[in-house]
């Protein structure tokens, strides 16, 4: 039953992810990305992680992607921009070599996935994935990573300001 829902969602995610990189217009890419984020949220629901799924929708599909769209529209990127891209001279041998490598790795990944032990995991407790459980482990077992993540964000923020400020004194 779960698989019946999983495969369409997973397929949709992959298709939309391809859409992100194949689309020539930035807005189209961003829309595909939103769709993919929503699909991922669906997969999280299937994993019984409802709270994470909600966060995924609110933060990624909501906040971050809206920001993306704003930036794209403010920059006023046209499709013409991509016409200016010069494609590099392709080296045939390197192309063959890298695609052979990529196909080999992909084959191995698929192979490995089928070999892997796909038993259903242990029974989950009733409270799994609820806001309370996530919050509790966030503030007890994972309190240090939680705090260190704030340092990471601080560093990223300072970095963004340093690189983007018009004039450093």
């Amino acid at each position: 039953m779960e698989l019946l829902i999983f495969y369409p969602i997973a397929g949709l995610c992959v298709a939309l992810a391809l859409g992100v990189i194949l689309n020539t217009s930035p807005v189209g890419s961003a829309m595909c990305l939103i769709g993919m984020m929503l699909g991922l949220a669906g997969i999280f629901v299937l994993q019984q992680a409802h709270f994470i799924a909600v966060l995924q929708v609110i933060i990624y599909a909501g906040a971050i992607m809206v920001l993306f769209m704003f930036v794209i529209m403010l920059l006023n990127l046209k499709q013409a921009a991509s016409a200016d891209w010069v494609s590099r001279d392709k080296n045939l041998y390197i192309t063959i070599l890298t695609s052979a490598l990529a196909i080999g790795i992909l084959y191995k990944i698929v192979d490995v996935t089928f070999m892997a032990d796909l038993d259903s995991p242990a029974e989950l407790p009733d409270t799994f994935g609820t806001v309370a459980t996530v919050g509790e482990s966030l503030f007890t077992d994972f309190v240090l990573p939680f705090e260190v993540a704030s340092l990471l964000l601080l560093a990223a923020m300072i970095g963004a300001v340093v690189l983007a400020k018009p004039k450093l004194d």
Partner: protein
């Protein structure tokens, strides 16, 4: 619902160095508001902060101490590494002071970023949990991306930052994917629990676990600039401001190796049969590509970048040997590497001047006739990097190689020694330029006190650790 109590494992004393340094990093940021145009005050505050961090690293007794549900450890390795990080950051700040003035990089955020980067390194060296290791690596990397691009008016610096960022983000993906697969197949992110699981299962050959290990090697390999994940290093080292180049060649590299060593020796030592051969290939490739690449270079910063790739190869031997002695060797090597690298980069900065950096080897022609002391110091640093006795580099290499021989990796050590011999070719090339060529033009050396101070510390460290290394070796826990 029951109230949640703070777990016993919250131990702020164990976390002292991280806390002290974070406070100083934010303090520097705030102080910048009042500091005005002159950033000397910020520099001294940062140096005091680093000193206090080094002291606070010794706050926890007895060793080893675990905290935060075993995700944080204070032991020999982490304390010694914390000292290396604070030393390297302090030297980097001393080198930057006048360089930044000269290049018009007068932003107080520079110091805050170096301090935050150091926090990340300490986290990296003291964590025994994959999540913490990932966060540490990300803090270090993000600060470095920005520091690499700090000369915003210089396209080479911009290129360095962008290349480093794009490739770094890609490599982070590999690292995280590897951690996820290992978590998926062992059920824990904690290094000790992973080790227990693998031991209980009798080194399972689960494909997911193996794939996870391979991805970890890729991720860490990128962070330490090992071949074939080294492509970014020459361009980034070349384009970054020189003090930042010295900084990233020492501190962050040591931090990545600390985590590399911890993950591979604490969490998956029982899988060694699988990853040993992989790391051997990476180590041998790093040594050859690094040394042969360095021979081709005419730019001294690029040459040092390739030399740093080859040093990553030597250091990987310590990870492969994975004994306690190899750990001590790693510590000692990083310490000597800090002294010699900062000394060499100090001289490079002294030789540069406003506008021109004089980074080509021809710029060093005849240096010995005009400034014999500088030329002699540069010679000492280069020979120490090559591993010639009686300098520190020799002792460091000796310890790592003997640790590897004790574990039976004789072929690997023979290759490494051969490579050390190759490396003398390009180190001596600079010496030949300095001593045997006529001066091409006037040297305009800006003898600035702080940069000179770094060079002097470098010289003292390089010679002291080479001639009388016993007290430091005792500290690394080797005896």
């Amino acid at each position: 619902m029951e109230p949640i109590h703070a777990p016993e494992s919250i131990d702020l004393i164990a976390l002292a160095p991280v806390l002290v340094l974070s406070v100083f990093a934010m303090g520097v940021l705030v102080l910048d508001l009042w500091a005005g145009k002159n950033k000397t005050l910020l520099m001294f505050v940062s140096l005091v902060g680093l000193l206090m961090t080094a002291i606070s690293a010794f706050a926890k007794h007895p060793l080893p101490a675990f905290a935060f549900t075993d995700s944080y450890i204070v032991d020999h390795l982490s304390i010694f590494f914390t000292c290396i990080f604070t030393l390297s950051s302090a030297l980097a700040i001393l080198l930057s002071a006048e360089y930044n003035e000269r290049k018009g990089m007068k932003a107080g955020e520079y110091y805050a970023l170096i301090l935050l980067c150091t926090v990340g390194m300490i986290v990296l060296a003291s964590s025994t949990d994959m999540i913490m290791i990932f966060l540490g690596i990300e803090i270090v990397s993000i600060c470095l991306y920005v520091l690499a691009g700090f000369r915003r008016d210089d396209p080479v610096s911009n290129e360095a930052a962008l290349k480093y960022f794009l490739l770094g983000a890609f490599a982070t993906g590999f690292l995280l994917y590897g951690m996820t697969l290992i978590y998926g197949s062992t059920g824990s992110t904690n290094l000790f629990k992973i080790a227990e699981f693998i031991k209980a299962e009798g080194a399972p050959s689960s494909p997911l676990l193996l794939m996870g290990i391979v991805l970890l090697v890729i991720g860490f390999g990128f962070k330490v600039a090992a071949v074939p994940f080294h492509m970014w290093a020459p361009d980034v080292y070349h384009g970054s401001p020189t003090p930042v180049t010295a900084f990233m060649a020492v501190g962050p590299k040591a931090a990545a190796f600390a985590a590399f060593f911890r993950v591979f020796t604490e969490a998956i030592p029982n899988m060694a049969a699988n990853w040993e051969i992989l790391l051997c290939i990476v180590a041998v490739l790093s040594m050859f590509v690094g040394n042969l690449g360095a021979i081709m270079q005419t730019n001294i910063k690029r040459m040092l970048a390739f030399s740093s790739i080859s040093h990553a190869g030597y250091l990987l031997i310590a990870v492969i040997a994975k004994s306690a002695m190899a750990g001590s060797g790693l510590l000692f090597y990083m310490l000597t590497y800090a002294f010699t690298t900062f000394g060499a980069f100090g001289i490079i900065i002294l030789l540069g001047r406003k506008g021109e950096e004089n980074l080509e080897m021809e710029n060093y022609s005849g240096l010995a006739y005009k400034h014999p002391v500088l030329a002699l110091s540069m010679t000492v640093f280069l020979l120490s990097l090559g591993g010639l006795p009686p300098f520190a580099g020799f002792v460091a290499k000796f310890y790592i190689f003997s640790a590897a021989i004790e574990e039976g990796f004789v072929t690997l050590v023979i290759i490494a020694v051969l490579n050390s011999a190759i490396s003398f070719y390009y180190y001596l090339k600079v010496v030949v330029f300095m001593y045997m060529k006529e001066p091409a033009g006037e040297f305009q050396i800006s003898m600035t006190p702080m940069t000179l101070f770094v060079v002097i510390i470098g010289i003292i460290g390089t010679i002291e650790l080479g001639i009388y290394p016993d007290p430091i070796i005792a500290l690394t826990g080797l005896n």
